[in-house]
């Protein structure tokens, strides 16, 4: 498999090229088929790769060719295949295949069908580069590539200005993060002379680089993660990104791309272990994002917006895990979250699709009977994300909360608050959508279940959302943590204190009780199916804490004003004014001198004679002997 590892990203690339180059003549059926088969082929290869992986070694680096070689700068185009990247490969290609399949049904009536699959293949290609890259430069290529794919797909329906605005916003906010990534990467290169993971992490602790520098580097990388994984303060693009087609939201803005930041930090765990302040910072940002986003999700009425804020919030949990040193917990939650959040989005997509584009949950209700498969799978996903024991989300979230407790109980209680809010808004969404009475405008006979091509992915993801957690059973249950063992050669949890078994039981019980209470609260609140206009604090939450407006007021508008000032005043009047001033000065001086040329021959001659005379006198003065 080692020699053929490059085939994994190659298939999506080929899919992209075929669909991209022949978009004019491509028959509709074929385009979706090519796109899906390309990812499926990668998935099969990823499976082969997974089973061939030596569980005891820490993987290998495969160099494809020399990428940049200039003087002392040597960057190969290399792939790092180890347990961490293999796991991500499975998640990306697996969920990717399901979502491509789903898209065949979802996008069947769209004009840009071929373009859609080309973009989606390009996204998978970039995402695979991101996780497979053997050094930060290759990761950066994938990192920016997924940003590009996300930009193109958010603005997929390009005739709508607000959609393209959302795409632009996503790209620019990501770019702010990318600058952080770039600075971090170049600092690593500066201090360690290499950005190749294998050499870098093998020798990093022995290099004796001061902790302050390590903190700075880790912090710079984390800015990159903030952009890509939508953390405070760069998270506002993700809710807007819901402008794209729903399968895109599922794949890019829930399951894979936004977890790139977690992957990057887990990949750099050696670095973060040497940077204690940066770690604390990651944890604080993580928990803050989890709480802020969850609080906003409580009051949203757009089904996709709720899921978007929920994604931001769950990503916050993952960063909390990373920040407290539980890299395995973070990666575990990435995986389970990928299953249930993709499922939620696809379920939401099915609902939206069948309600002819309706996204407001106030106009839904009673869909359980009309769409039984969607209903059941959606319920499973809700149970998983809320953390009901037995479902995957329970195990991963529990692991994070226990690790947080070990680091500092405050993290745990805040995390519990977030979990409570999660349970509430998810079930508020669930009840409003699937139970009660139908409040929309469509005739009820028009609503029906989705075609098979869309329901099969839902079923597969639902199964995964249930069983996905069992690879990470806590030690408390007397079982092996399979995921931790699997990842052990590459990433290991860092300095997590022991929590007594009794305490752990107590924490687990506490969170389950809180979640159950919140679910019943949600049930009772949504009984009437009527949502009142929000006022006061509720309004504040509904308007997403007015963060966008604040950014607009303190960053965007001043920047525009400054640019206008530069353009209109500084450049036109001051700098060009000085340049033209020189020209005018010469002109004015010449205008004076011009008067000498008055056309009077007598005057010319007079001046001439005087000149001769002056020369004569001077000559006699200086050379009296002649």
């Amino acid at each position: 498999m080692k020699e053929f590892i490059y085939l994994i990203p190659l298939f999506p690339l080929l899919g992209f090229l075929i669909n991209g180059l022949f978009w004019k003549s491509m028959p509709k059926k074929l385009a979706g088929g090519i796109g899906t088969v390309a990812i499926l082929a990668s998935f099969i290869l990823a499976l082969v790769n997974y089973f061939q992986l030596d569980p005891n070694s820490s993987g290998y680096t495969f160099t494809l060719f020399e990428f940049i070689t200039a003087g002392n700068l040597q960057i190969p185009f290399s792939f790092k295949i180890d347990q961490l990247s293999s796991l991500f490969l499975l998640i990306i290609t697996g969920i990717g295949t399901l979502i491509h399949l789903y898209s065949i049904g979802y996008m069947s009536e769209d004009k840009g069908y071929t373009k859609y699959f080309a973009y989606l293949n390009f996204f998978v290609f970039s995402m695979l580069l991101l996780v497979m890259g053997g050094n930060y430069a290759i990761m950066f290529i994938g990192w920016e590539g997924v940003g590009l794919a996300s930009y193109l797909l958010i603005g997929f329906w390009f005739e709508n200005k607000s959609f393209t605005n959302a795409g632009k916003k996503a790209f620019i906010m990501n770019r702010i993060g990318d600058l952080g990534f770039l600075v971090g990467m170049l600092l690593v290169l500066y201090h360690f002379g290499t950005i190749e993971y294998e050499q870098l992490f093998a020798t990093m602790p022995q290099q004796g680089v001061p902790t302050s520098t390590m903190n700075f580097i880790a912090f710079a990388f984390f800015i990159g993660a903030m952009g890509k994984s939508a953390q405070i303060p760069l998270y506002t693009w993700l809710p807007d990104a819901m402008a794209g087609p729903t399968p895109v939201s599922a794949l890019i803005h829930a399951a894979t791309m936004v977890t790139a930041g977690i992957y990057m930090i887990a990949r750099s765990s050696v670095l973060y272990n040497l940077a204690p302040y940066a770690q604390d910072f990651v944890a604080i940002i993580g928990i803050a994002t989890a709480l802020v986003a969850a609080s906003i999700a409580l009051k949203q009425n757009d089904i996709k917006k709720i899921l978007a804020y929920s994604t931001v919030s769950q990503l916050g949990y993952m960063f909390l895990a990373l920040g407290v040193g539980s890299y395995v917990g973070g990666v575990f939650h990435v995986m389970t979250h990928a299953f249930f959040k993709a499922l939620l989005f696809l379920g939401a997509g099915a609902v939206i699709h069948n309600l002819s584009g309706e996204q407001d949950i106030r106009n839904m209700g009673a869909l359980a009977k009309k769409m039984p498969i969607t209903h059941i799978t959606f319920l499973i996903a809700c149970l998983a994300i809320a953390g009901i024991p037995g479902f995957s989300g329970f195990f991963s979230k529990d692991q994070i909360l226990v690790a947080a407790y070990a680091k500092n109980p405050i993290y745990f209680y805040l995390g519990l608050l977030g979990a409570a809010m999660t349970a509430f808004y998810m079930f508020r969404l669930y009840f409003l959508t699937f139970s009660g009475k139908y409040r929309g405008n469509l005739k009820e006979s028009e609503i029906h279940e989705s075609p098979k091509v869309m329901t099969i992915p839902l079923i597969v993801l639902a199964v995964l959302s249930v069983i996905g957690g069992y690879i990470g059973l806590p030690h408390l249950f007397g079982a092996d943590h399979k995921l931790a063992n699997f990842l052990q050669p590459v990433v290991e949890d860092f300095q997590i204190g022991d929590v007594a078994a009794s305490t752990e039981w107590f924490l687990m019980g506490l969170s389950v009780i809180v979640v159950l209470i919140m679910i019943f609260l949600a049930k009772s609140q949504t009984k009437t199916g009527i949502i009142k206009e929000e006022k006061g604090f509720g309004k504040f939450l509904q308007e997403a804490w007015y963060v966008d407006e604040v950014y607009q007021a303190i960053i965007v508008s001043p920047l525009k004003e400054l640019s206008q000032f530069f353009s209109q005043v500084m450049d036109k009047n001051i700098i060009d004014g000085v340049v033209n001033g020189f020209g005018k000065m010469v002109q004015a001086g010449s205008n004076r001198l011009r008067l000498l040329q008055n056309g009077q021959v007598g005057f010319y001659f007079f001046v001439f004679v005087i000149g001769i005379f002056v020369l004569l006198v001077l000559g006699l003065w200086y050379f009296p002997t002649i």
Partner: protein, 474 residues
């Protein structure tokens, strides 16, 4: 001898085009530029590790000679000139202009001058070609283009010529110091022997000419106007090639000649470059005219390259060399697109555009990819160049190297802001009502397709496997 062909082919065919018929001149231009490109490719990829040298007696009484030398960056720039001219002629095959034969003749003469600047190995010869490139450019800019072109071109000419005069003064001083010789080696030895204070003022005497040509903030004000008003082909020659003369001259002449002067003034130049990056990017962000966006973006990119030159690190200078090439190619494609867009909407005002993705999907695809190349996205060649420059900045010995890197890096955010704004206004949305009646729905023509396709090929190949190009100068 092969070096002489690079100058002679465009020179002869340029003179020839003044006398022949308009219809034949197009084929002449294509044959000539193809031949020049082939010669430059042979030189770059076949003789790559040998430095070609040619010396013909010329003005011996003055201590000058017709010395050409190709190696490293010189040949890389000659390659760029060859490629850009070919793309230019092939893709603008169907453009109708008054006095086409004169237009093409002047373009070819400019090419001869450019080649001479990049290859000259004698200071007087260098100066000679430096001005030789400017004079046909003056006529190109003042006779074809927008209404107020004469005024703008006059400013451009006087401004750059003023800079050249400063350089001439420095040249004469060095000539006298070098015992009345213009030979590169003699001038170099003489300049290096100057004491520190002389080097310090000599630095500005020579650098001001290059800074105006680039143009570096605050000497840039001629540039947006000139780019805006000139005919597209002239704009391409100006912005893809002529402004590179300034950067090239810094690499080949300024840095080796005045090491102490450079060391003394580098912090000043660095500050100017950093201001230039941010300032020009911000201005580009609020422009309404599509051509002015590219013009200001060009100022920002050139400022980054100039910054790299003064970092005194190998990676930065290698990166700048590569980036000069990349910027030349990318910007050629962008100008071609700007002219396509202008022809489509009959305006350059962005607010009256939109919906091109529907009207002309192929052109829009090219626009998006080239816009991202201009932004420096990975897998386009600009990323490699910028990455190396940023790395060079980070590796440099300045105390504030991280700050420099972050400020220069803010350019990648700002460039995304203005380029995406451009893409959004032009390609996305709907066709505005007021232009609906006359906007042309046709996509790009075959010649344009070929030209832009070549650009794209270089952009992508250079971004995935940069060694293809970088081996030329490394």
């Amino acid at each position: 001898m092969i070096l002489l062909f690079l100058i002679l082919i465009p020179l002869v065919s340029g003179l020839l085009s003044f006398v022949i018929q308009s219809e034949q001149v197009k084929s002449l231009a294509i044959v000539s530029s193809l031949a020049t490109m082939v010669v430059s490719i042979i030189l770059a990829f076949v003789f790559q590790n040998e430095t070609a040298f040619l010396e013909i007696p010329w003005l011996q009484g003055m201590g000058a000679s017709f010395a050409l030398k190709a190696g490293g960056i010189s040949i890389f720039m000659a390659l760029l000139t060859g490629i850009v001219y070919f793309i230019l002629f092939i893709s603008r095959l169907q453009v109708k202009l008054p006095n086409l034969n004169r237009y093409i003749g002047l373009l070819l003469l400019t090419q001869a001058g450019l080649m001479g600047v990049f290859l000259a190995h004698d200071f007087l010869l260098f100066y000679f070609f430096w001005e030789l490139a400017l004079i046909p450019m003056y006529f190109l800019a003042s006779q074809w283009g927008d209404e107020n072109r004469v005024k703008v071109t006059f400013k451009f000419f006087v401004y750059t010529f003023l800079g050249s005069l400063f350089m001439l003064a420095g040249l004469i001083y060095l000539y006298l110091q070098a015992n009345q010789s213009f030979q590169y080696e003699h001038i170099l030895a003489a300049a290096n022997q100057l004491d520190a204070s002389t080097q310090q003022w000599m630095f500005w005497l020579v650098f001001i000419a290059f800074a105006i040509k680039m143009p570096l903030f605050p000497f840039h004000t001629w540039q947006p106007d000139a780019y805006e008003t000139t005919e597209t082909s002239s704009t391409i020659v100006l912005s893809a090639l002529m402004v590179k003369m300034g950067l090239f001259a810094v690499i080949k002449w300024l840095l080796p000649l005045f090491p102490e002067g450079t060391a003394y003034w580098s912090s000043t130049v660095i500050v100017l470059s950093l201001i230039g990056i941010i300032y020009a990017s911000l201005i580009a962000f609020v422009q309404k005219d599509i051509k002015r966006v590219i013009a200001y973006s060009s100022i920002a990119h050139i400022a980054l390259m100039n910054l790299g030159l003064f970092m005194n690190t190998e990676s930065a200078i290698d990166g700048v060399m590569y980036q000069m090439f990349n910027h030349g190619i990318t910007v050629t494609g962008l100008w071609l697109l700007m002219s396509i867009i202008e022809n489509k909407y009959k305006t350059r005002n962005m607010s009256q555009m939109g919906g091109m993705a529907k009207l002309a999907p192929t052109a829009s695809i090219f626009l998006v990819i080239l816009a991202f190349s201009n932004v420096g996205l990975p897998l386009t060649h600009s990323f490699i160049g910028e990455f190396m420059i940023f790395n060079g900045i980070m590796q440099s010995a300045f105390d504030n190297h991280i700050l420099f890197m972050v400020l220069a890096g803010s350019g990648i955010i700002l460039s995304a802001m203005y380029m995406l704004r451009l893409v959004q206004k032009v390609a996305y949305g709907k066709v505005p009502k007021q232009v609906e009646s006359y906007v042309e729905a046709k996509d790009i023509s075959t010649p344009e397709w070929i030209g832009l396709g070549l650009v794209l090929l270089i952009v992508i190949v250079g971004g995935i496997y940069p060694n293809v190009f970088m081996q030329v100068f490394l």
